[in-house]
């Protein structure tokens, strides 16, 4: 109640401005024109064009949507007048001050604001009529024509219209039923046509809506979310996981808040569990034991069962969890300052290698060479000392740093889609014969490698931000290198890069939508299959819009959470 009163007061105060007080008005027209319009020919031309655009667009909108436009125009006129009068009387309220600063701070902006509001309104109206007013929410379109070998009574019993009261010449005056959508607009007409002896009913459906066909999404909702996990022996596992996460999640929130448990072993255990949970959940979803999907908790293959949103989430989570230790190691490796292999070992080894290969490999290559390029290629061992020189120059003999750097840069240098194809096509070639590798495993491995390279760069950024003093303090206390990194450096570095890691996870979550290109059934792949379902032939836009919304909500939520985390982690820091 109090709040309402407060707002009323603000409104009243703002409106008071409209009653001009003569003595306070200070307006010098000439100065106003000079400062805002006539000081430059360009400005005048621009304002003329803008005014013309605003005017023509507004009149157009007045014709196509009079009510909304008139309301907007009235509000606009009122607020502009309020702001102007307030400015002239130098008697601003909070509102007029805000409008002066953010909406009407120049003649251009006065018009641009109106234009934009009208545009937003038009866009919203267009989307609203597409997505709601003219949309069909009907579950599934039955075949356009269906014949019942049946009697009038049977039709009535089956819930159809009462056809017995129809006139005889039904072909011409067919009774129709119409389905309206939630907005009350007719989206489908169904005609029941009886033949002359009233034994066969032909049902004709005509979709007459111009908007979205949400039925395609509604009908496939569970497909999009969990795909083949709808089966009763599988779906309970999803529910179990959800319930477990909810319950255990709430419990651990309390545990993390508890003063008594701080830095206890139990809490580290809980943290460890959460970090590894994607793998545990994945294994739980796949089940154990004989029987496959026929058994209550039978082991199923992820390639045949996992799909949709569930798949996308699990893939992204697994990849980030697996890539985490790898990324940290790579970051440490790239920054390592371990004494390298001295030049007096590298150069002789490289020289000997070159000479050896020049005498063994080059002659055979020369024999087979068919072009000048082939001959040139045969002398490749000459490159060995060059590479050795580059290695000593860049990394001072530090193999670990060289390996980490090259690994990171190569993975970062190629597109994710090629990584996916590589993992699907090339993975088996890297393993001994006869090792069966699931597609899921291949894709997880590929994504994890790819993600590790990016994660390594994030962690490296965090490591760089740790001041030297932290290393020195740990050293002076006699901590071993391992303890120093485990307890002092990494906890701080990782805390610094958690927002970056969340950002990377969001990226990975979005990138997993690429796996449909290598034939896995992620969210996007399921959405694509809708277009080939007989009921929803060619319908793509609606599932895509649903997916866009889903990804947008998930990613925004995570980004929001990450920003919050960033603020929280800032507490108790330097």
């Amino acid at each position: 109640m109090e709040r309402v009163q407060k707002y009323l007061n603000v409104i009243l105060n703002s409106l008071k401005v409209l009653i001009p007080q003569r003595d306070r008005m200070q307006l010098d027209w000439r100065r106003f024109l000079g400062e805002n319009i006539t000081y430059s020919g360009w400005i005048m031309a621009w304002l003329a064009i803008l005014t013309w655009i605003t005017f023509s667009y507004t009149t157009g909108q007045l014709q196509s949507a009079p009510t909304g436009t008139i309301v907007v125009l009235m509000i606009w006129g009122l607020t502009v007048a309020m702001t102007m009068l307030a400015e002239l009387q130098k008697r601003h309220t909070d509102w007029t001050l805000w409008m002066k600063g953010n909406l009407y701070n120049s003649i251009t902006n006065v018009q641009v604001s109106l234009l934009l509001v009208l545009l937003i309104l038009a866009a919203f109206r267009g989307f609203y009529s597409y997505a709601y007013t003219n949309a069909s929410f009907a579950d599934a379109v039955p075949p356009t024509e269906r014949e019942y070998e049946t009697t009038v009574e049977a039709v009535a019993e089956a819930g159809g219209p009462n056809l017995s009261r129809m006139p005889a010449n039904l072909e011409f005056v067919s009774p129709t039923e119409s389905i309206t959508n939630r907005a009350g607009v007719v989206v489908r007409e169904t005609a029941y046509i009886l033949n002359e002896d009233k034994t066969v009913v032909t049902v004709e459906n005509r979709d007459i809506h111009t908007g979205a066909t949400w039925g395609a999404v509604i009908d496939n909702f569970s497909n999009l979310l969990i795909f083949r996990y709808k089966q009763p022996n599988l779906v309970w596992r999803v529910y179990a996981v959800l319930i477990f996460i909810a319950v255990f999640g709430v419990a651990s929130t309390f545990m993390y808040r508890s003063e008594r448990l701080r830095s206890s072993r139990l809490l580290s255990g809980v943290s460890l569990f959460w970090i590894t949970s994607p793998i545990i959940i994945y294994q739980f979803l796949l089940g154990a034991g004989e029987g496959g999907a026929e058994a209550f908790f039978g082991r199923v293959s992820p390639d045949n069962t996992l799909g949709g949103f569930l798949f996308s989430v699990i893939l992204a989570l697994m990849a980030i969890v697996i890539s985490f230790p790898l990324g940290v190691l790579l970051a440490l490796g790239r920054r390592s300052e371990v004494r390298g292999i001295p030049w007096w070992i590298t150069y002789p080894v490289a020289g000997l290698g070159m000479v050896y290969l020049l005498f063994t490999n080059t002659p055979t290559l020369l024999e087979g060479a068919r072009s000048n390029f082939g001959i040139l290629l045969a002398y490749w061992p000459i490159l060995i000392p060059v590479v050795a020189y580059g290695f000593q120059r860049t990394w001072e003999g530090n193999v670990v740093a060289a390996f980490s750097t090259i690994f990171i840069e190569v993975w970062r240098g190629i597109p994710f889609i090629t990584v996916l194809f590589m993992s699907i096509i090339l993975f088996p070639i890297f393993l001994p014969e006869g090792w069966e590798v699931l597609n899921m495993t291949r894709v997880v491995a590929g994504s994890a490698m790819f993600s590790a390279a990016y994660l390594a760069e994030n962690v490296r950024g965090g490591l760089q931000a740790i001041p030297r003093g932290q290393y020195e303090a740990a050293d002076s206390l006699g901590l071993s290198n391992f303890t120093k990194y485990r307890l002092i450096i990494l906890p701080q570095a990782i805390r610094l890069v958690i927002p970056a890691i969340v950002g990377q996870f969001i990226g990975l979550f979005k990138d997993t939508s690429l796996v449909y290109l290598v034939g896995l059934f992620d969210l996007l792949a399921v959405a694509n299959t809708i277009a080939s379902q007989p009921d929803w032939l060619g319908i793509r836009t609606e599932p895509y819009i649903f997916l866009l919304a889903l990804y947008f909500v998930c990613s925004s939520a995570m980004a929001w959470y990450s920003r919050r985390l960033e603020r929280q982690l800032g507490v108790g820091q330097r």
């Binding site: 001041p467 932290q470 303090a473 002076s476 206390l477 006699g478 901590l479 303890t483 701080q492 820091q573």
Partner: protein, 255 residues
């Protein structure tokens, strides 16, 4: 310089340095520093900035690697030998200008970390000793706070407690009061004075002349990577031997 080279290698010398050399690239930071420290001695190292005094003190626990000469700490030669380095670091505590507390750990965790992981004490014992030292430096009530929640002077006292809980034989202070506000310097100096009086071997790099005058057994004056003068505080301040020392004292005392 000639005098500085005469080494007093008596039996209870805990630190012996002989002709210590250090380069940063082409910059010669330490040009043959020789000195020794007896057990229980309090030594203050003075010198203008860039004179190599911090570098020198940091070579003693190998935060900086020296490239020539010998350093023997507590009878152990400091070299590339990793075990010797570990042993020396266990016996030598260091307090830094920037405190260098671990911001993600509480005060108590900061202090008990090294005893638990280096000295392999039980958590109970480490916490008991830690609380003893926190009480000694006067802030036992801050044990469960994070370093970021403490004032600079309190942080430096925690850093001292952290060093002392390791029960080192030698304490190195690297300009411990330089990053503090004037009103906090006193609380840290009081703690240091207390430690000096209770028999620790102390090497301190500091600009606190009052501390040097009243607490030090010996003052070492360094310039341009060399020891210019070694003297008792009385002689150093009132009767310096070297011209360079006089100039330095003039500059800092008569501003």
């Amino acid at each position: 310089m000639a005098e500085a080279k005469t080494l007093k290698t008596t039996g209870d010398n805990v630190i012996v340095c002989n002709e210590v050399q250090k380069w940063y690239g082409n910059y010669h930071a330490l040009r043959g520093v020789s000195m020794s420290v007896r057990s229980g001695e309090v030594i203050v190292i003075l010198g203008p900035s860039g004179s190599g005094k911090s570098t020198f003190i940091r070579t003693l626990n190998r935060l900086e690697e020296h490239q020539g000469g010998d350093i023997i700490v507590d009878g152990i030669t400091l070299s590339h030998d990793v075990r010797n380095i570990a042993e020396i670091r266990r016996e030598v505590g260091m307090v830094f200008q920037q405190f260098n507390l671990f911001p993600h750990l509480t005060v108590l965790e900061n202090i008990t970390l090294a005893p638990i992981h280096v000295r392999k004490w039980s958590r109970e014992r480490a916490e008991e000793v830690a609380m003893k030292w926190l009480t000694r430096v006067g802030i036992p009530e801050q044990a469960d706070k994070y370093p970021g929640q403490l004032s600079g002077g309190q942080q430096q006292r925690v850093a001292i407690a952290r060093t002392l809980t390791m029960e080192p034989k030698i304490l190195l202070f690297d300009e411990p009061t330089s990053a503090l506000d004037p009103e906090m310097i006193k609380e840290v100096l009081d703690v240091m004075r207390d430690l000096a009086n209770s028999g620790y071997t102390i090497l301190a790099v500091t600009h606190e002349m009052g501390f040097a005058r009243t607490v030090a057994d010996r003052i070492i004056f360094m310039d341009a990577g060399q020891i210019v003068e070694e003297n008792t505080p009385d002689n150093f301040f009132h009767n310096p031997k070297e011209e360079r020392t006089k100039k330095f004292l003039n500059q800092i005392l008569n501003h």
